[in-house]
Amino acid sequence: MADATASGPGSLGQIQSDYIAMTSRKRLYSGIMMLVLVLLLVSGFNMAEGRNGGSFIGGLDNFFDYPAEVVGEAWTNRANIPGLFAKYFPALIETVNIAAVSTLFGALFAIVFSLLSTRGLARFPRLIGLFRRMMDIMRAVPEIVIALVLIFVLGGGPVPAMIAIAFHTTGALGKLFSEVNENASLKPLEGLESVGATWSQKMLLGVVPQVAPNWLSYALLRFEINIRASAILGFVGAGGLGYELKVAIQWGQGRFDAAGAMFIMLFFTIMFFDQISSHFRDKLVHGAREQG
């Protein structure tokens, strides 16, 4: 158009200057945001360093000392390593078992909770909010808290860790499961309802087949996370490899070969289950896509 370049409201010049103004304002805001973030990071870092036992720069120098010591000692005693693997293998199995059982229990409870808290599926629609809040709380309680309290009541060992992780898993998986449930088609449910199915039959025959692959995929992911959690809980007294690790490094000198062996075992176990679970998750999601 001929008058596009003329000045006036809505003209090109106006639009251009408006655009420039907007861009610079946007840039200013992002700049301020970045500045605030950097300031927060720097001051937070200084604060954390101030409250820390040792300083950051001082620590950087000996950052590799401990790993080097562990590796060095493990290397000099490398003949022991296979024996140590065999010695700590039962503890590793216990750690993996804790993770597996708690994932299974957590997933079973999460299924029930998620079905009860999904709109359109819930058995008691009025109580959806209640079940959701319950899951929020279960998710929010750190495992270590329940584990420590249960260790007081039940004594040390794998059971407190198992209950603690299962409790947290219920909340975490319940939320993910109910998000999956929301996408399930309600048509099979109507069909089942028309032939007089009860609520549990509707869920089992109408919903579960639709969502099972996604459930399984999330549960596998959780299993990965739970192996790590189970190792950490062992460290505070709940049995398994974490506990042996704590004993070995508390021993001070002379047990670094054991600690090294356990580091290696833990690392490869975590990698192993990561690979397996991501392989199966790929397959599950892929399979679900083929059907859809």
Binding site: L37, F63, Y66, A140, A231, M271, D274
Partner: protein
């Protein structure tokens, strides 16, 4: 279904398929049950059940919701002192006493609930329980505790535990214990003691209305100061501990995100043409994630000492691995057309990344970062328990002493509220981010 053949007997085929499916289902269920049975014995559940300490559980629950006031008499000097939870910081100031205790010269009368009365006399200590009768105890250096009961000694009920040097009587209302050195009465009350003000504060025992009234009449800072420095509940320390936990989560997550972003470019197929670098970078990410936060924590504690910085670094290193992996996947999914467009205006590579790539991935990355901030708040509690920082440390210390269960409950409540708040906040921010993004373009 591919398994059905249209030419044959459909019904029979369907039944075969169903039978097979049923078998698979029951097979899986059977395997799971067998695994549970194995675990039942591998974890020694029968033994745990047998030796589980019901007493510990009862102590825990009752201590969570009640507190006790100790009335202690030093049997040698005859001095009587009153202290909540028997702690120094809960002691009544000189000349003050709970209103259910009356002192008259050398005699102290303690009213327990249910008309039970304990009297500390100069020589004799008596306890009167209405349905049971009057008991009296005399303490001497030579013969220990000499007691008189309304029933013969061999018919004493089980709530009286008596030996030569020690008598302990536990009722619903409280507990009396007499030893040679001292006599002690516990009376239990519902609630958390001295939560707002300790006994030495002038505001202890004031009504809520009065305290609020005084707040507005110029005593605000005094009131807050007494509350803030409460030695029993340590509100100030708890607040800073929570801030420390949040700080660990924030530093760890933000630091990991900043580190992971450039590294993710090196690991993404469409930005890093050299396969060896790509492969190496991915293995580095795997290594960071695979060496668990626990191992990083141990290594870092050796290098940097105990404290929040160590915890933040442990989160930072583990999450650099996770973020690196996720960011590089997000980068591989970007649309090339926008980059082409930027390139056509003559932009240099750095400008292409800034204007062609970052706007596409920012919402995805920010949403992942926000999700991690929430989950790292929880991790920071756990890591804090090991590296000695934040609310995690206070929590484990309170649990390890095995007596301050009301404080444990308080800290747990705070942690749960904190995580729920972070969850809510990150959800809100993510929603705003996605919405803002749709509106903005």
């Amino acid at each position: 279904m591919a398994m059905l053949d249209a030419t044959g007997d459909l019904r029979a085929q369907t039944e075969t398929v169903f039978a097979r499916k049923r078998m698979v289902t029951f097979g899986i269920l059977g395997l799971i049950s067998a695994y549970f049975v194995y675990i039942f014995f591998a974890f020694g559940i029968p033994e745990i059940w047998a030796k589980a300490d019901g007493q510990n559980a009862r102590t825990l629950v009752s201590d969570m919701i009640t507190y006790k006031t100790h009335i202690t008499r030093d049997n040698r000097s005859g001095d009587v002192s009153y202290a909540i939870e028997g702690e120094k910081k809960g002691r009544y100031p000189e000349g003050k006493s709970p209103d259910w205790v009356t002192t008259d010269g050398d005699t102290t009368v303690i009213q327990l609930g249910g008309d039970q009365v304990v009297t500390y006399g100069p020589d004799v200590i008596t306890m009167n329980i209405p349905e049971f009768g009057l008991m009296s105890f005399q303490v001497s250096r030579s013969s220990g505790v000499v007691a008189e009961y309304p029933v013969p000694v061999d018919e004493l009920p089980e709530w009286i535990n008596a030996s030569k040097n020690r008598v302990a009587i536990t009722t619903e209302e409280g507990r009396l214990s007499v030893t040679r050195n001292r006599t002690e009465v516990f009376r239990y009350f519902l609630g958390w003691e001295l939560f707002f003000f300790t006994l030495d504060s002038p505001y202890h025992g004031m009504g809520v209305g009065e305290v609020i009234g005084r707040m507005f009449s110029g005593e605000f800072s005094d009131i807050m100061d007494d509350f803030w420095n409460n030695p029993m509940w340590l509100h100030k320390e708890v607040f800073w501990a929570i801030m420390e936990t949040l700080l660990m989560a924030f530093l760890g997550t933000a630091g990991a995100a900043i580190l992971a972003l450039p590294l993710a470019f090196l690991a993404a197929k469409n930005f890093s043409p050299i396969m060896a670098i790509r492969f190496g970078m991915r293995r580095v990410f795997d290594f960071f994630r695979g060496v668990d936060a626990l191992i990083w924590t141990i290594i870092l504690t050796r290098a940097f000492g105990l404290g929040p910085l160590t915890g933040a670094l442990a989160i930072l290193i583990t999450d650099t691995g996770s973020f690196g992996k996720m960011f590089s996947e997000a980068l591989e999914n970007v649309d090339d057309k926008q980059i082409e467009g930027i390139r056509s205006t003559g932009a240099k590579p750095l400008q292409r990344y800034r204007f062609g790539v970052l706007p596409q991935v920012t919402p995805v990355l920010l949403s992942q970062i926000l999700y991690y901030i929430e989950s790292n708040t929880r991790s920071a509690t756990v890591i804090g328990a090991i590296t000695g920082g934040g609310i995690g440390l206070m929590l484990t210390q309170a649990i390890i002493t095995q007596k301050d269960w009301e404080e444990v409950t308080y800290y747990i409540t705070l942690v749960v509220l904190l995580v729920i708040f972070m969850d809510w906040l990150s959800g809100k921010l993510r929603a705003a981010l996605i919405k803002g993004d749709e509106g903005g373009h």
